[in-house]
Amino acid sequence: MWRRSPSFILDERRSSNSPPMADTTRGPFQNPDSISAYYQTRAAHHGVITSDWLAQAQAAVGGVTGEDQPLSSDNQLGTEKSFNVIEEFNNWRKQPDLAEAVAAIRALAAVIRASEASTMMELEIELKKASDTLKSWDKTSISLTAGCDLFIRYVTRTSALEYEDFNSAKSRLLERAEKFGEISCKARRIIAMLSQDFIFDGCTILVHGLSRVVLEILKTAAQNNKLFRVLCTEGRPDGTGVLLSSELSKLDIPVKLLLDSAVAYSMDEVDMVFFGADGVVESGGIINMMGTYQIALVAHSMNKPVYVAAESYKFARLYPLDQKDMAPALRPIEFGVKIPTKVEVERSARDYTPPQYLTLLFTDLGVLSPSVVSDELIQLYL
């Protein structure tokens, strides 16, 4: 699929009618637009609503209903639920303060509530189906997948624990699912507390992307009267850095905005780099907003510590070998000038950073070295 040699380029010219990529991964429940749903959520939360984006979002919403309706007539019982799941998920993820994994678990909880199953076994199968639907609807979102997997795993274990009756088990599942939003918020606070030791007075922190956890960390540090300076990358094309810097300046934290390309130039005055993460993968590496990898490379070559702040429910059983070894999350990119149609544009929204470029992970499970991630995942899914 990735053309590396000239012969492939020629091949591509011959079959230039077909749009590149994304199509191959399109399933029946695939989000019909080539812009990943994952990216839309992010964009919506960041509040970067360009007119272009709005139009596409509308198209996307239309597309979902349009494509799902005929299917539901096909298979009455099964898809009634699956339709619910996506709808439910979409409702939840519109709330800006809710992480995607939380929305996924809430959506699955709704499935439990609506379920007419009478045994644990049935419920489990139903949930599995719903989660598969949800996962295949947006393959690009890692925390969605991780959230679903985590919950299903919990359900399986709970059923193995043999509660006396089905209803009390069900209510316990529901209660835990409802609590998950709280767990997520609490995780963020724990991470912020843990990271305080690492922020020393007079340090300079480089931040890439707009991560709720990182923002919480910096907020807590400011509340603890730490004296530090933040360098924000601009985060083209979403301008996440611009948003983050305005948030930080509200808190009176000295902040400087950098072009994404100015990272290497500024690295020598940086004491540490903070990233959030969309997902933490089996190897201990992270998948995060485009540009993370190159910043990590620069930091590594200059011996600067790279810290990742991520809630543990973002740990996912994925193991990308390289950048192309994962479903690309595509996004629109505006260059401000007209791009000739022959020019290809890289539209992927994120990249993979291997673990050797990360120093430590701050998670709600504690401060971890990247090798611990696999340990936790093996314990969970064994």
Partner: protein, 407 residues
């Protein structure tokens, strides 16, 4: 009680004045002191474990504050706390098991079990929840409930089941204390025996006609090298002299006394000699949770040189040196500056240091320790075997309770 208090004060003073040196000696003194604290601690009827934990913690805080750089003190205090928690847990589960049996005998009385406060949950679930408090939080338990709620059955456990069985309790109390002291004795034994455990592995790592570089004076390294020598391996040891404390001289003297071929080199020749060396072996002062090492000053230089020439850099550490903390800014925070007089004779320099006459200022830096980041370490050899730096977090999780990490 008063005599315990006075020994605590005495030990704190010793720590503060740096009278005790070497992590093994410190660890041994600490654990012996804690044992006497535990055995003299009067335990109330309810919540004996909590009382012991509080007592140990109170003493532990004093000791750590007396010498925050000697991480072995904190490590040992955490180990003892972990022993108390574990013994308490095993007693609780044993008691719970008895309760379970009781329930099984009269089946109709299920409501009784619920009344105690475990709605529709078997004893196994409670025990599992309690055990999770000993472990650091994990992904597995993320959805199962917040740690606070999990600790509730644990802390109230002794109180809850004692309600029905007052007669049993006094024996239980004595049992806990007895078990804890037993556990602490085992820890003492372990600390005393860690050299032999580590030295046993020497034969696997040192081969015929090899050249070994070491620096600093570590008993563990000495025993390790001698163990290989006893197994009829002949090899040469390069010892960096370790200015300004010259601990390398001390080590070299002991090695020569045991009949090892020893060459003393200056510290500055470490890079020049490293290409002639097959392995660098050092003793750690402390091992951090990320696999980083605090060692005698100059170690980082040797580690960098070893990396440049792809020479294995092996760190020997007894389990009391494993510290559950992640270092931040370790070069500065976990270091100790010694007297400048070890480097410069002030008498000789007093003439040019006459202030106000336009002379510059002089600062003399004499740190004790050095930090080696985990990526420079090839192998850790502990009393439980050889480990990669990336695996140290796991050993630490086995030795300490999550609740005690921050004291």
């Amino acid at each position: 009680m008063p005599d315990v208090q006075s020994t605590v004060v005495e030990f704190v003073n010793k720590l503060r004045k740096r009278k005790i040196e070497g992590s093994q000696a410190t660890a041994k003194c600490t654990v012996e002191l804690l044992r006497s604290v535990i055995s003299h601690q009067r335990v109330p009827h309810a919540n004996q474990a909590a009382a012991l934990i509080d007592a140990v913690k109170a003493v532990g805080e004093q000791l750590v504050a007396a010498n925050p750089v000697e991480l072995a003190v904190g490590n040992v205090v955490r180990r003892v706390l972990h022993i108390i928690r574990e013994e308490d847990l095993s007693l609780t589960t044993a008691a719970m098991g008895g309760l379970d049996l009781l329930d099984a005998s009269d089946d109709d009385d299920v409501d009784n079990c619920k009344g105690i406060g475990y709605p529709a949950m078997s004893a196994a679930v409670v025990a599992a929840a309690a055990r999770s408090t000993l472990r650091p939080p994990s992904l597995q338990t993320l959805l199962e409930g917040t740690p606070e709620s999990a600790t509730v059955p644990y802390t109230s456990s002794s109180g809850a089941d004692s309600e029905s069985k007052t007669a049993d309790k006094s024996s239980l109390t004595r049992k806990l204390k007895h078990d804890v002291i037993e556990g602490v004795n085992q820890l003492i034994h372990e600390i005393a025996g860690c050299h032999e455990q580590i030295a046993e592995q020497a034969i696997e790592h040192i081969h015929q006609n090899e050249v070994i570089l070491t620096l600093g004076s570590s008993r563990t390294v000495l025993e390790f090298l001698c163990a290989a020598k006893e197994k009829k391996r002949s090899f040469r040891v390069f010892v960096a002299e370790g200015a300004p404390r010259y601990q390398g001289h001390l080590l070299a003297k002991e090695l020569v006394a045991r009949g090892l071929q020893t060459t003393v080199i200056t510290d500055s020749a470490v890079f020049a000699m490293i290409s002639r060396v097959n392995m660098v072996i050092i003793g750690a002062h402390a091992v951090m949770a990320n696999g980083g090492v605090i060692g005698p000053v100059g170690v980082n230089m040797a580690a960098l040189a070893a990396q440049k020439h792809a020479v294995p850099f092996v760190v020997l550490a007894g389990s009391h040196k494993l510290c559950p903390l992640y270092p931040h800014n370790p070069e500065v925070l976990l270091n100790e500056l010694r007297s400048p007089s070890e480097l410069l004779d002030f008498g000789e320099f007093s003439d040019c240091l006459d202030f106000g006459a336009g002379s510059g200022s002089l600062q003399v830096v004499n740190p004790t320790f050095d930090y080696v980041p985990p990526n420079l370490v090839s192998l850790f050899i502990t009393d439980t075997g050889g480990h990669n730096p990336s695996y140290m977090y796991r050993l630490i999780a086995d030795y300490y309770s999550a609740d005690d990490l921050v004291m």
